[in-house]
């Protein structure tokens, strides 16, 4: 018997999702695996398709904000900001300074809330079940604050074209004072509990690595890109809101592996806390809404606006025909573009890594499928 004859083995097709618990929503991956190794992966999207872009064409600008809330449903304020910024750019509106401060604070808080969710779920993907509850503890605190400010925990509908819906509540400063210290403590805990844990490091170092050039080529943005060492953060590159007045740094990775993506996000939370603190110190009383008519009718034209969301660069291309409804809205969702890297990252990974890699890209299916 020729013992050196290679065994004729077939790759096994493994369907992961849309009901798999670790696909972060309704995402389906078809994995071809050889034993525990992944040979190929094919993502299937569209299970959460809402038709947001088409819906936008039939809704007034004030109603579109509610649709944008539901794109990336863990970072709602950041989404609202982009559509408001697009319409404001088209109308040439000057947003009052206090409204800008409120927007910056809320966006950065939402970034913390979003990254907290990432920290928890990523640890959960890695098999640690406690961090998710610690993370949600802080996320809940932040969301309670959002509730006090905007009236809703998640779907706020608070930003308006030309400002924000209403001024901050009176007890906002008290609440902020109570909010930030526990958040900082939880971030420190995250380092002790997860970031530098031996098992976690063994699981995530050099897993799903991608280099900066490929990442740029695939259109990756946000923490996923910065983890590869590419210094691109819209808050620095094209400062919007008040980021040119605020002192913050952009944490960069260098290997572009899962651990770097995790680490970058944890450090970003720290920077966001600093940003919020600075805004709170600088903020002055004043109007929160530009004097405009109730129904916005941006002039005829086209505009592109984008902002640094927790997941990356969310862009909106808005075409207006001068009516109270946009002619066309094109959304460039960061999660969707980041998902493109899946194949590159998963090559030769283990089945267990598939879950971690998908988790580290930090997609939100509402945004991927739109």
């Amino acid at each position: 018997m020729a013992i050196n004859r290679q065994l004729d083995t077939l790759d096994m097709m493994l369907n992961m999702g849309p009901q798999h618990p670790a696909t972060h929503g309704v995402f389906r991956m078809v994995l071809w695996i050889d034993g525990e190794r992944i040979v190929d992966v094919e993502p299937h999207i569209g299970y959460l398709h809402l038709g947001t872009e088409k819906l936008c064409e039939g809704e007034q600008y004030s109603q579109i904000i509610t649709l944008f809330d539901r794109l990336d449903y863990v970072a709602n304020f950041n989404n609202e900001l982009v559509i408001c910024a697009a319409a404001e750019k088209l109308m040439g509106l000057e947003v009052p300074e206090r409204a800008l401060y409120i927007r910056t604070i809320l966006c950065e808080l939402n970034r913390i809330a979003s990254h907290m969710l990432f920290y928890g779920t990523f640890a959960l993907d890695a098999g640690a079940m406690t961090p998710v509850l610690y993370a949600f503890k802080e996320r809940e605190r932040i969301q309670s604050l959002f509730e006090a400010v905007s009236g809703a925990r998640m779907m706020h509908n608070y930003f308006r074209i030309g400002g924000v819906k209403q001024d901050l509540p009176e007890d906002f400063y008290d609440r902020m004072g109570r909010l930030l210290d526990p958040v900082k403590r939880t971030i420190e805990e995250a380092d002790d509990l997860v970031t530098f844990n031996e098992i976690f490091l063994a699981r995530t170092r050099d897993v799903g690595a991608i280099d900066g050039k490929t990442a740029l080529g695939l259109g990756l943005t946000g923490p996923n890109l910065r983890a590869t060492g590419v210094d691109y953060d819209l808050r620095k590159a094209e400062p919007y809101l008040l980021y040119d007045r605020l002192d913050f740094s952009v944490p960069l990775g260098d290997r572009g592996d899962c651990w770097d993506r995790f680490w970058v996000r944890i450090r970003e939370m720290e920077e966001s806390v600093r940003l919020v603190e600075q805004c709170l110190q600088q903020m002055q009383p004043g109007p929160v809404m530009a004097p405009i008519r109730r129904i916005s009718r941006p002039p005829k034209g086209e505009v592109f606006a984008h902002a640094e969301n927790p997941r990356g660069d969310l862009g909106v291309y808005l075409v207006s025909s001068g009516a109270d409804r946009p002619y066309r809205v094109k959304i460039r969702p960061p999660s969707f573009c980041n998902l493109m890297s899946l194949k590159h990252m998963m090559r030769n990974a283990y089945v267990a890594d598939a879950v971690l890699i998908l988790g580290s890209i930090d997609i939100v299916l509402g945004e991927v499928d739109r």
Binding site: I199, Y350, V351, A352
Partner: protein, 375 residues
Amino acid sequence: MTARDIALIILQLTVLVTGLITVVLSLTWLERKALGRLQRRMGPMVVGPHGLLQPAADALKLLVKEDLVPALADKLLFWLAPMVVFVPSFVVWVTIPLAGEVVVRNMDLGLFFIVAFSVLAIVGMVMAGWGSANKYAILGGLRAAAQLISYEIPIIMAVIAVIMLPQSMNLVTIVDDQRTIPYAVLQPLGLAIFLLAGVAEVGRTPFDIYFAESEVMGGPFIEYSGAHWAVFFLSEYINTFTIAVLVVLLFLGGWSFPLMPESAWLGFLWVVVKAYLVVFVIFWFRGTFPRLRIDQLMSVGWKILIPLSFVNFGLTAFYKFYELPWWALTVSSLAITVAAGYGLYRRWTWPARATAEERLARARAYRRAEVTDAG
């Protein structure tokens, strides 16, 4: 064998089964409560005071649930697998003493019996994995086979090192030998190996690879529901308790340390209390650690635990042969444990910490430079 003997055996086994099921129910409640507190929440609170009746409610629910069998499943394997997993985990209890006389049948080769029977569960895992006709189940079943076989070796080696001290495989003798110094003091390395490998053997975090919820979603158990799943569940918790009791008996002095009066019931209580503490440590691990990957699990097993268990074995043999004072074994064993732990820390954590600090410094410098430019 008279009718009276048979009746006695049946009575003993009934008591054993009832006792084990009670332990399992209490463990599920304790696990959920302990995890709840570790995670700043309350755990079950609704059924009964502080959710005390929750395990009973769960058991009832599992028993009345429909027992689904997948259409393509290998029916025989599918039905048999839970039994094959459950029987060994139950049979080993025949010879585990919970106090001097509180035991069904004390055997001279008791430890050998336990080790030999606990391996059998692997067959059941593979059967469940294959019989379910589910790809995740197959992955999980094969993972279980690899994991359980690999971690059997360090367990056996650690047990052999323990056996060498009293020169007996009889658990009662082993415990009695620890009257003055528990073996945990003599062999901290052995304790560490046995606890880690034991946790891996029962498949608890950080070694819950074969039924990892976020990866293979329950592995071999994915297609099981109702009473069949309950049997798996039962055996998993019995195994956890077995490992805890073995840790207590082999390393923590069982009922004889610190000096206990010669009362079987007090000794029994003492063992149970200690065992629950060990179980709490296992739950605590579950509340803290992420999970290893299958290849890392293998390398931890084969490259770290097995060599260390041979070192432990050799060390004990050296100590026995040259009749050294007992602290010599303690000190050398402890030194190796600490060195191994520190080595792992250096190997796995150090590079990441260094790069993290360097990157942070770079980010801070970048920020300062920019601010001075602007200002």
